[in-house]
Subunit: 356 residues, 4 copies
C-alpha cells in the first residue's frame, strides 16, 4: 500500500525489455544512434508537427533547461507559487537560468489562470528594478493533481504571449493529463499555444526518460550546447531512447496512464464515500488528495500504508483542513492494482468506524 509517489516503482516490462534489447552491438554515442533518431521522429508523429526533441535524464533537468532557454538570466518566469519548478527543484531553474527569477502566482489546485496572470502583471511596478517577465510555466497535471482544460491552456498561453512571455508546460505527468482530457498531444500543447514542453516518461512506466520538446523551433537553437554543458548529454544514449521507443509502441504510454488514472479514481471515490473524508481537489489524473481525520491517517500509517501529507495552500475558497484533520496525497502508478486499492480502502473503512 505504497502511495507515496509514482516514482517508487520500476519500469514497465515492455520498457525494461527495450533496454535489454537495445544493449547489444556498437552504436554511435551521445544520441547519434538510430534508436534516438527513430524516437525523435516518433515525437514529431505524436505531436503532428516538426519539433526539436532533446532527451534528458530527470524532470528537474528538463524543466530547468527549458526555462533557461525561454528566460534570459536577467528576466523572470511566472509560474504557480506551488509549482514543482519553484518549490521542489532546489533552485535548479535559477541555477540553469543564470540567476533568473521565478515569480509565483496563486490559484486553486495549483492551476494557473489568465486572470491570475493578468493580476500579477498589473501588480508589476515596471521599471528596471524588477526582472521583466519573459516566460510562463504551467504544470499539466498540477501539483494538486488537477488538469487545465484546453480552453484554459489556450487562454493562459494567449495572455502570456500577449505580454511577451514564452509558454512552457511541465509535463512530468503529461500522459496522465492527456488521457484525462481525451485530446491529442498536439491539442494539449502547441495547438493551445505551448512553445516548449517537459515531456515526462519516468513517472509513467519508464525508469528514467524525460525529454524537452520545442514546438517553436527558434527556442531550440543552440539547445544542444545547453544540454551538453548541463551534463545531460548521455553517452550511451540508447538507454533513454530505447525506453521511449517501447513507451510509444502500440500506445503503451496511454495504456499505462489510463490504468494509473483509473486506480486513482477508484481510490478517490472509495475514500470520498467514507464519513469524515472528502476530496481536497477533484481527482483528475493519478493523484487523490483527501482530507480525513488525523486519527484515521495515523491508523493507515500504522497498518503499513505510505503516503505524504500535503499543503493546504491552494485549497478552494471555503475549504479548510480542521485541527483534527490532515490533507494527504495518494499517488497511483501503472503498477497499482485493484487489490492495493481495496486493501487501503478496507483499512480506511475500519479505522474510520473505530475513530468515531
Amino acid at each position: 500500500m505504497n502511495f507515496a509517489s509514482d516514482n517508487i516503482v520500476g519500469a514497465s516490462p515492455q520498457v525494461l525489455d527495450a533496454i535489454a534489447a537495445a544493449n547489444t552491438g556498437a552504436l554511435p554515442s551521445y544520441g547519434g544512434d538510430a534508436i534516438t533518431k527513430r524516437v525523435e521522429a516518433r515525437f514529431a508523429e505524436i505531436f503532428e508537427r516538426d519539433c526539436a526533441v532533446f532527451l534528458v535524464t530527470t524532470g528537474t533537468a528538463a524543466n530547468a533547461l527549458a526555462i533557461s532557454a525561454l528566460t534570459p538570466p536577467y528576466a523572470a518566469c511566472m509560474t504557480h507559487e506551488e509549482s514543482h519548478a519553484i518549490d521542489d527543484e532546489c533552485g535548479a531553474p535559477e541555477f540553469f537560468g543564470g540567476g533568473c527569477k521565478l515569480v509565483g502566482v496563486p490559484g486553486v489546485g495549483a492551476k494557473l489562470s489568465a486572470e491570475a496572470i493578468r493580476t500579477c502583471i498589473a501588480n508589476e511596478p515596471g521599471g528596471v528594478n524588477h526582472p521583466p517577465l519573459r516566460s510562463l510555466s504551467l504544470s499539466q497535471a498540477t501539483e494538486c493533481g488537477m488538469i487545465h482544460t484546453l480552453d484554459e491552456i489556450r487562454s493562459i498561453a494567449e495572455t502570456a504571449h500577449g505580454h511577451g512571455m514564452a509558454v512552457h508546460m511541465d509535463g512530468a505527468r503529461f500522459a496522465n493529463a492527456l488521457v484525462s482530457l481525451g485530446c491529442t498531444p498536439a491539442e494539449m500543447t502547441w495547438k493551445a499555444g505551448v512553445d516548449c514542453l517537459s515531456f515526462g516518461g519516468t513517472k509513467n512506466g519508464c525508469l528514467m526518460a524525460e525529454a524537452v520538446v520545442f514546438f517553436d523551433l527558434q527556442w531550440a537553437k543552440d539547445f544542444i550546447y545547453r544540454r551538453k554543458r548541463a551534463g545531460q548529454t548521455v553517452s550511451k544514449g540508447r538507454l533513454i531512447s530505447a525506453q521511449f521507443d517501447a513507451y510509444f509502441a502500440q500506445d503503451h504510454w496511454l495504456y499505462l496512464a489510463r490504468h494509473a488514472n483509473a486506480m486513482a479514481r477508484a481510490l478517490s471515490d472509495g475514500l470520498a464515500a467514507l464519513p469524515g473524508f472528502r476530496r481536497a481537489w477533484p481527482t483528475q489524473a493519478n493523484e487523490a488528495f483527501i482530507i480525513l481525520p488525523g486519527k484515521v491517517a495515523s491508523a493507515l500509517r500504522s497498518a503499513g500504508a505510505m503516503f505524504h501529507e500535503w499543503t493546504d495552500k491552494s485549497l478552494p475558497a471555503g475549504e479548510a483542513v480542521a485541527d483534527n484533520e490532515v490533507l494527504i496525497r495518494l499517488v497511483t502508478s501503472f503498477q497499482t492494482t485493484s487489490e492495493m486499492i481495496e486493501a487501503f480502502l478496507a483499512i480506511a473503512r475500519s479505522t474510520s468506524i473505530q475513530a468515531k
Copy 2:
C-alpha cells in the same frame, strides 16, 4: 572494428541483469533505497575508508559538480590543457562552478606533473586581477591513455595542497588505470592525496553509472543540494545503484578493465610492429595512440574501421606527426574481442604493405 570510443557499446550482461533484477517492487525514490545504500557501503569497503558517495548520470556532471564543490566561483581550477574538463565538456565546469576559471597547464601525454604545476604557479602574477587557484583536477587515465604513477599522484597532490588547492581526480577510466597500476583504489586516491574522485562506470561496462566520491568529507557538506539543483538526483535511483552493485560484485569491474586493457595492448603491440607505425604515447590503459601513414589510415577507414584522429599537442619532445602521417586513437572496451583486433591488424598489415 569500431574503436571510436568505449561508450559505443552497451552494458555487460551482469550489469544489464542487475537493472532488470532491481526493477520489481516499490522502493524509496531519490536514492533512499536499499540498493543505493548497499552500494554506498561498498564504496567505503573498496576505498577502505569512510567516504561520501553521490551517484550521478554522466561523467561531465560528475566532473563539473566535483569541481564546483572544490572551487569557489571567483577562483580557478588547474588542470591539463587537454583535459576533458577544459576541452570536452562545453563549459560545464564553468557553468556548475558559477563562472570559475579553468587554467590549463601543458604536459606530455596529457599528464600533470608537480613541476608543471610549480611553473604555472610561479607565472601567476598574483594580485586581485587573477582568480586564485583553489583546486586541481588530474585525469587517471589521461586523455592520451597514460597513467600517473602513485609517486606522481602523490607529488602532484602534495604540490597542490601546499598551494591551497584541493585535489580532484577525473576517473572516467578509473578501473582501467587501477588494474594497469596494480594497486588498490585507496592507494591510487586518498592515500596519494586525492580529495575527491569522479568514479566512472559507464565506459567500463555500465550503461550509465557515475559517482562523485569525497574522501575529505568537509567537501561533501551540502553536496546533496548541489546535485539536486543540477538535475542529477535520479528519482528511480535504483537504475544507477543496481549497475554499480553488479559492477563491483566479484570484482566484475576489474575483470572488465583488465580485458579492455589487454585488448588495447594487443592492438598497440600489433600495430607498433608494423613498418611506418609507432606509438604516440605508451599504451597504459584501454587506448592505443598510433602514428601511421595517412594512406593506411584511409584504407582502414575504407575497410570499415572506425576511430578518431587525435591532436598532437602533447607529444613527447622530439616526436612529431609528419605531413603524410596521422595520429589516431583506438579505444577498446570490455566487449572488444581478439577477433576484432586481428581483423584490424590484418587490414593494417596488408594496406601497410600496399602503401609502400
Copy 3:
C-alpha cells in the same frame, strides 16, 4: 518640493570638497592609496573593532556582494518580502549569488521579527528539494522607514544564528537609523549579532559611496576577488574613499542624518495633524508614509510636489487604504529645508480644506 527620494540631491559641500581635495597628485590605484587606508581605519574606530571594509559603488552591489559571500549558490537567504534585495534590485542577489534563492517573510512595516523567522523555518519542508537557509538580511531602516530596536535585532540575529544563518544588515539608510536609535554603530551591528553590513553613504550626503563591512572576518576571506570580478574595484579609488573621509569627519554623517530625520518628523507631524491624513507607519527615520485622500495627493502633484505612491502590503493589522485614499512616501534628505516642508504642508492644508 521633491520628496521622491534621498538620491535626487547631490553631495554635501564637505563631501564635494573632499573629492576635489583628493584629486591632485599621483596615488596608487585600486584602493591602495592612503585615503582608502585611512578610511578603512576609521571604520574600525567607528565600529570599535577590527573589521574588513570594502568600498563599492552602489547599494545594490553592496547588498548583492554581501549576500553572495554569506549564501552558497545552492542555498537561500531569508529577508522581508518587501526588502530592497528581494524587490528592487532586479535579481542582483540571485545573480551575484550564482542562482541562490531569496525567501521572503512578512512583517509590519517591512520589519523582520524572530517570530516571523521561526514561522518561516517551521514551514520549511526540509529535505533536498528546498535550498537550505544560510543567511538572513534585515534592513535598517526598512523600506517602510521603520527601525528595528536593538532588542529586535539581537533577537532576530540570535534566531538566525541558531538556525545556521549568517546575518546581513542592509544599511542603505544606516545613519538615519543610528541617530534615530541614539545608539553606537557597534551596538546596532556586531554587538547585536550582525555579521556583515551594507553601509550606505550615498543617500545621506555622498555622491556615490557604499561599503561592505564584515565584522565576522571569516566571511571577508577572498572578498577582494568577489569585488574585483563584479566590476566594483574602482581604479581611482580615492573618488569613494575621499567621500567617506569627509563623511566621517567631525560626525558630519550624524549631523546630516539628524537633519534629514528631523525634517521627516516635521513633515509627518504636520501632515498627520490634518483631517483625513494619517501615518501608515510611524516616522522613525527620514521617510514619512502617509495615507491621505486621493484628491489631495493629486492636488499636491499638480502644485509641483514630487513623491511616490507606496504599496500597502505591510500595513499594520486593521489598517487599510480606502478606495478614495492613497498611501504615499515622502523622503527627506540632508538638503531638505524647513521651507520645503512648510511649502508642502501649506498646499496640503489648503487642498485638504478644499477637498472636503
Copy 4:
C-alpha cells in the same frame, strides 16, 4: 616619476569642475536626469549615428557587461590571450556571462588579426563539446600599447561576422587610439564593423566614467536590466554623466589624449636612443614598452621612478628579453609633464652610462 599607470592621477580640472557644477539641485536619479540625456545625445553626435549608451562605473564592468550581452552563457568569446578581459578582470566576463568561455588567440603586441582568428576557428573541433564562438573582443589600444589600423579592424570584424561572432571593442584607451589614428570615432568603430564598444573615460582625465555603447541596437535590448542587476545603475547618475559632459566639451578628451600620447612618444624616443635600450613594441598610444638592462631599471626604481615589469609573451618574432634585461611598461597620462619625462630620461641616461 610615476609611470605605473594612467589611473594613478585624478581628474582633469574641467572634469572635476563639472562634477561640482552638477552637484546642486534635485535631479531624477538612476540616469533620468538631463545631464545624462544630454550626454547620451552627445555620444550619438560623436559617433554620427543612433546608438544605445549605458554609463557604468568601471572598465571591468563595461567589458563584462558588453561581453555578456553578445555571448550566450553556453558560448565563447574570442579575444587576444593577453587581453584585459581574459587576463586582468578576475573572471568578470565569465561571471557576468553566466559561465561563458573566453578563448585566447596569440598575436604580436596583443593585437588580433583576421589570420589568427581564422586559424583559431580552423582548429576548433566543432561538435557539441566546445562552446560555439559567438563574439570577439579586440582592444584598442591593446595591452601592449599598439593600435589596430582601420583596415585591420575591418578585416577582423568581417572575419568575425562571417563566422557568426558579434564584435566588441575594449576601448579603455579609446581616445588615445583615436588620436593616434587620426580618424573619426565612427570610422574606428561601427564603420569598421564594431557592434559594441566599451568607451573609457577614466584613464584619460575622468575620475570614474565608462560607457557601454551599442551601434547594433539589437544587442542593447534589455541591457538596462543587465546593468541594474550588476549593481551598475548609479543612483546619483549625474556623477558620471557630468564627467562625460566636460570630457566631450570643446574636444577636451582629444586634447588630453594627444597630450598623453605625445608624452609617451617623447619618453619612448628618448629611451630608445640610449645604448642598450630598445622598444619592445612601437609606441603608438600612451604607453612605452622598453627593453633595457636590468641594472638600469633597478637604478631608476632606486631613484624613485615607478613602473611595472611586463610579460614578453607577445614580442615580435626574433625579439627576446635577455637574462640581464627587463621589459618595462611606462604609462603616461593627461597630467604627465615634459619635466617628468626629462627627469626620467636624465636618470636613465646617467645610470645607463654607469651601468656600462
